[in-house]
């Protein structure tokens, strides 16, 4: 049996540094939106690129690189989130909502929404992030996360319904505050 080893990164035809620059925002943002900790997200993102470097010889195309990065980042971030147990496992419905402290202008709405997304259970959070950060359709999300597409669709629907409900409650509180109500 002939000896074979994975092709080194240099022989893969990909410029690794360019790949890092091209995809760093995507990888970091998936990790950050899932972990809500910038330092941890950066560290995880670095680890993902380190792994990419080790597996560069297996990459068949730029599309393969993109798919691989999304899959590995999402799954590692999910593993990390579960490991850190930043919040106990709760149902979607009992996920806590942030307390509005000021009336919501656009940047504050962004922050409220990000916090609400961050409060979702990990799998639902990953689905929402891949759908709205990466603009992936449910079939694609299912392939990245390795879960059935039916699960993706139902979790996405539930997450959106919940976010809508919690957001309107947050907006209601903010409006009460602005009107001087307690």
């Amino acid at each position: 049996m002939p000896r074979r080893t994975p092709a080194p990164a240099a022989a893969s035809g990909f410029d690794f540094a360019s790949l890092v620059r091209q995809h760093q925002a995507m990888v970091f943002s998936i990790a950050w939106h899932l972990l809500r900790d910038r330092a941890v997200a950066e560290e995880l993102a670095q680890d993902v690129f380190l792994s990419l470097h080790q597996h560069l010889g297996e990459m068949e195309s730029p599309e393969h690189v993109l798919y691989w990065l999304r899959r590995v980042t999402s799954n590692r971030a999910l593993d990390e989130a579960r490991r850190r147990q930043r919040r106990p496992m709760v149902s979607l419905e009992s996920a806590p909502e942030p307390v509005a402290v000021t009336p919501a202008g656009d940047p504050l709405l962004d922050t409220s929404l990000r916090k609400l997304v961050a409060a979702l259970p990990e799998k639902a959070r990953a689905i929402v992030v891949l759908r709205y950060q990466e603009d992936l359709d449910p079939a694609e999300i299912a392939r990245v996360l390795g879960i059935p597409v039916g699960t993706v669709k139902s979790q996405l629907q539930r997450a959106l319904a919940l976010l809508r409900e919690k957001l309107s409650r947050v907006a209601g509180q903010a409006s009460d505050l602005s009107l001087g109500k307690e």
């Binding site: 049996m1 000896r3 074979r4 080893t5 994975p6 690794f16 540094a17 890092v20 620059r21 760093q24 925002a25 995507m26 970091f28 943002s29 950050w32 939106h33 997200a41 950066e42 993102a45 670095q46 690129f49 380190l50 470097h53 597996h55 010889g57 297996e58 068949e60 393969h64 798919y67 691989w68 656009d106 709405l109 962004d110 922050t111 929404l113 990000r114 997304v117 929402v128 992030v129 759908r131 709205y132 950060q133 603009d135 079939a139 694609e140 392939r143 959106l160 976010l163 809508r164 957001l167």
Partner: protein, 100 residues
């Protein structure tokens, strides 16, 4: 797209990591230790394992591409079929009207 979805796209848009992120990754890659194994049989086992992993990774991506292409075929057939079906039904309806 509904307003909440627009807002989610905005709230969850990609952000850049630290300005020196790329440099730090490249530094880590350069500093990563190269594992050297002296015994030939261990090298052989490692090479076989690497080959299997390579094959598994390639197969996994092939399946991913195949499933995407299959979904595209199904979508294309649905769109083409539905337009054709609509036209045919209209013709049948008009033909039926002109006969009766």
């Amino acid at each position: 797209m509904a307003p909440l979805e627009d807002e989610l796209k905005e709230a969850l848009r990609r952000r850049e990591p630290s300005p020196d992120f790329t440099e730090r990754v490249l530094a880590r890659v350069a500093a990563a230790p190269v594992r050297r194994v002296s015994q030939p049989w261990v090298r052989w086992v490692a090479a076989m394992a690497a080959t299997l992993l390579l094959a598994a990774g390639g197969l996994e991506y092939r399946n991913y591409r195949g499933e995407r292409a299959r979904d595209q075929v199904l979508l294309a057939v649905r769109i083409a079929g539905s337009k054709l079906n609509k036209a045919q039904k209209k013709v049948q309806m008009l033909t039926h009207r002109s006969i009766s």
